[in-house]
């Protein structure tokens, strides 16, 4: 990290922000958490800026008072690796060959004397490895510039629209602005929802329609405890943005409006929102739908209660990833610190999956009705309860016990496949842990039963035992920090699945992890593991894997890392055998 600052009789004015920050910065970025801090004057920082970006350095404008602080986090990592892989694309994402991967990040910020922050962020990945970038060989991971200060914020590029649960909660490539007018906060966003910047620019990289979108929100407090807001948003998919042979869908449009409140008083709180929407598919009749959510509760010193109800129509169309359409659920949740040695968490809920109902066929005048086919093995209505308990023992410091039990029962609504399908899920578990300063151990057991009358082939009971032991060594004393340390953990699990058909699957796994660090040398980690078992047909399952990773600093800002890893699976069964081995080196530079 580089941090430049300058203060004096004639400070530096925040004109830098207007002159330079909106420009994109190509730089080297901080990828290592261990990067050191270096202080330099403005000239040094700006010279490095120019060198890295290949363009003129931003101008600093001196003012009569105040100071501008520039912070620039930058860095790059370069990986070069060779991989051998076999098995085919259905079994492994990896292909063999020599590959490289370059990552660049830059975060340039300027803070004006009155605290306003301007920023420009940029991250880019360049690689010829198809498991990293499937289409093309470079991708912009983040591109964003903006400014925020007292009562306002605006940004362009990748913007996170985060208005409310039922309105807009989505990444957008466009612009957003927020500003207070007195007590009222207005937020506005507009842009395009696209898979990537590259897909936005090149039709050949699109697998989904471009979606033009806007979102508006007005919010203001009423008294100390109540805040109310209203939103309007909409989207329209561009049907010409994807060639017809790529996507078998028709473009859609959606518009919605919501209103909500956030209330908090003493130990009580409530969040509620209601929305109306209209959704349309090109060439088909539109659907109007509604949504309502209410979540409230009471938080005491030892007891917390939460209650909620969500009801979203299956055609409710919004810009919010949080608003899962077709859900109707009611829940109650409690956290209770019952005693100093026991805490309990309970949850009961009833949930209806409206998506499990048969879809409404397209209207006859436009397209002949598509017959409703057996659509889903999943059920429409579910009732569930879960209870977790955590125990600690004052007489045995470090000893802890966790218990959990849960069950959900569901049934199909009329009209779905199978008519009256029944679904049941049960699970129980216990986990015992013991932690001492230099070692720890755990022992766990999980049991689950699943049944589904519509898709009964995987009905089964699964029992899983797990155990782990960890130990660490170092030269730390009560008065000195450690100059070296070594950790070792061995973990194993045994899993047995009994299917209702009578078949049994089994898998035993053992994994050893070693990691160490010495101040003057660097750090390393090693993983060695394997599993043995058989599937439900009786076929042998054998896998083993390893990984060796070692790295050390190069000077104060650089680093080098060497790694080797591999996995070999089911080599004795040619139909499902796959393996991969990778060896590579990574160089990094961070400032």
């Amino acid at each position: 990290m580089i941090q430049g600052s300058r203060q004096g009789k004639k400070g530096v004015r925040h004109g830098l922000c207007h002159a330079a920050l909106p420009g994109l910065v190509l730089g080297l970025s901080a990828t290592q958490a261990s990067a050191t801090t270096h202080l330099a004057d403005n000239n040094t920082v700006l010279a490095q800026f120019a060198q890295a970006s290949g363009g003129p350095a931003p101008q600093l404008v001196e003012a009569d008072d105040g100071a501008t602080k520039i912070e620039w986090h930058g860095g790059a990592t370069v990986d070069y690796y060779s991989r051998s892989a076999s098995g085919g694309s259905v079994l492994t994402p990896y292909s063999g060959g020599h590959f490289h991967r370059i990552g660049i990040q830059s975060d340039l910020r300027g803070t004006s004397p009155d605290g306003d922050v301007s920023w420009t962020q940029f991250a880019l990945t360049q690689s010829d490895d198809p498991s990293v970038l499937y289409l093309g060989n470079s991708q912009i991971n983040t591109l964003n510039a903006g400014r925020a200060g007292k009562g306002y914020r605006y940004s362009v590029g990748d913007v996170a629209v985060n208005h409310s649960t039922l309105s807009a909660n989505t990444p957008l490539r466009g612009a957003m602005a927020q500003r207070y007018f007195g007590q009222t906060l207005l937020s506005a966003s507009a842009g395009v929802i696209a898979e990537s910047w590259e897909a936005l620019a090149d039709q050949g990289q699109r697998r989904m329609f471009l979606k033009n979108a806007y979102a508006l929100k007005a919010e203001r407090p009423f008294g100390q405890n109540l805040q109310a807001y209203a939103t309007v948003q909409g989207f329209r998919e561009d049907g010409d943005s994807v060639s017809s042979n790529v996507l078998a869908l028709v473009p859609t449009t959606g518009n919605s409006a919501t209103a909500g409140v956030n209330w908090r008083e003493d130990r009580y709180f409530l969040q509620a929102e209601a929305g109306l929407s209209r959704f349309g598919e090109e060439g088909l009749e539109g659907h109007r739908d509604r949504a309502l959510i209410a979540d409230g509760g009471w938080q005491g010193d030892k007891l917390g209660l939460r209650l909620g109800h969500h009801d979203l129509g299956r055609y409710y169309a919004s810009l919010s990833g949080l608003a899962g359409a077709g859900i109707k659920e009611t829940y109650a949740n409690a956290n209770w610190l019952a005693t100093s040695w026991m805490s309990l968490t309970g949850d009961v809920r009833r949930s209806e999956n409206k998506m499990a109902a048969p879809p409404v066929p397209p209207p006859a005048p436009t397209i002949p009705p598509t017959p409703v086919t057996p659509y889903t093995p999943f059920v429409g209505t579910t009732e569930a309860a879960n209870l977790r308990a955590q125990f600690t023992f004052a007489d045995v410091p470090g000893l802890g016990l966790g218990l959990s039990v849960g069950e959900s029962r569901g049934k199909s609504g009329s009209g779905t496949a199978g008519g009256s399908g029944v679904n049941r899920s049960q699970n129980q578990g216990a986990n015992l842990t013991y932690t001492k300063p230099v070692w720890n151990a755990s022992l766990g057991y999980q049991n689950s039963k699943q049944s589904n009358s519509i898709a009964a082939s995987s009905d089964s009971r699964t029992d899983t035992w797990t155990a782990a032991y960890g130990r660490n060594w170092s030269d730390a004393t009560e008065i000195m920090q450690a100059s070296w340390m070594l950790n070792a953990t061995v973990a194993g699990s045994v899993q047995r699945q009994n299917l209702e058909s009578g078949a049994t699957a089994m898998l035993n796994t053992l994994n050893l992890v070693l990691s160490g660090e010495k101040n003057s040398w660097g750090r390393m980690s090693a993983i060695l593991g394997g599993s043995r078992g058989h599937d439900a047909t009786g076929g042998d399952l054998r896998q083993h894997w390893y990984q060796l990773d070692a790295g050390r600093a190069l000077g104060q800002r650089g680093g080098i890392r060497l790694y080797v890893r591999g996995m070999s699976s089911f080599q004795e069964r040619s139909a499902i055998a796959y393996r991969d081995k990778t060896a590579g080196v990574q160089l990094s530079y961070a400032f």
């Binding site: 605290g115 996170a160 990444p171 842009g191 329209r236 055609y315 689950s448 519509i454």
Partner: protein
């Protein structure tokens, strides 16, 4: 579209003046929070932890990382438990990841491939999709608030189906005289249907024929048919006869396959997927 353009213009016009005309506000005392790469990295690490837990079937850990007020909580949890039972050796590979971050929110967009083996016969399977993972900063770190787009964790939560038909054009001369079968390949991939043994889609011709076509599961959620009862004759077709009939006196004709994905994910209502083949 006019509204979008107008808002975009207003936004652009507003940007240079925002700081100058900002008024005293409740946020005055707060220092502006700007997310950095460290926040993005921490959000991604929290997502990776959930992915590893899903792969190993540790649903309890995921449950402890979710807000009980999450919309669709039970459907999400039940779907993951069902996946853990029916799909073995799950490996979820994320690529082309991009991060958009706000002060207390990170939105990770990524493509994914989910590989697995069916529990009954250990048949390999592959699902693909594209998701946006909404991560919120909680008191104790980053938590996953929702998954929009195709949901890789829980088959029940919705993934957009893929319908493919090959070839895209059929010469009339290669269509057998009734009754016969044409080597047409139809494949439907819908992870929401994992567990079903067959699915019926619809075939419609521009000449008025309409038939149901049954596809058979070859692995969980993947249905295929190679060979369609398709033939030509010199008379108009009969609906629901079990054979797609082409009136060879009225070509070119279009054969359209249609499937309604009732749960396509992406907060999208039931979506109609179509593929067309031209016969000339």
């Amino acid at each position: 579209m006019k509204a979008i353009r107008a808002i975009a213009v207003l936004l652009i016009a507003f940007l240079p003046t925002a700081s100058a005309c900002a008024q005293t506000s409740p946020a005055e005392e707060k220092k502006p929070a700007v997310a950095g790469f460290d926040d993005m990295k921490a959000a991604r690490a929290a997502l990776d932890e959930i992915i590893r837990a899903y792969e190993t079937g540790d649903i309890g850990l995921i449950q402890s990382r979710l807000d009980p007020a999450m919309i669709g909580y039970q459907r999400f949890i039940d779907g993951m438990r069902r996946d853990a039972t029916g799909l073995k050796q799950i490996r979820l590979h994320l690529f082309e990841a991009q991060v958009t971050a706000g002060p207390d929110v990170a939105m990770i967009q990524a493509a994914w491939e989910k590989r697995f083996f069916g529990v009954t016969d250990f048949t390999p399977g592959l699902f693909t999709g594209r998701s946006t993972f909404l991560m919120h900063r909680a008191k104790d770190g980053w938590r996953m608030a929702a998954v929009s787009g195709d949901n890789p964790f829980s088959s029940e939560s919705g993934v957009l189906a893929t319908l493919n038909v090959m070839p895209g054009a059929i010469p009339l001369a290669s269509v057998p005289i009734c009754a016969g079968t044409y080597p047409l390949s139809i494949e439907l991939i819908d992870p929401d249907l994992a567990g079903l043994q067959s699915v019926t889609i619809e075939a419609i011709t521009s000449q008025g024929d309409r038939e149901g076509v049954v596809l058979t599961a070859i692995s969980p959620g993947r249905f295929r048919r190679v060979g369609l009862p398709l033939c030509q004759d010199a008379i108009p077709p009969f609906r629901s006869s079990g054979t797609v009939e082409i009136n060879n006196t009225a070509v070119p004709a279009t054969l359209t396959f249609r499937y309604v994905d009732a749960n396509p994910g992406a907060n999208r209502p039931p979506a109609t997927l179509t593929r067309s083949v031209t016969i000339r």
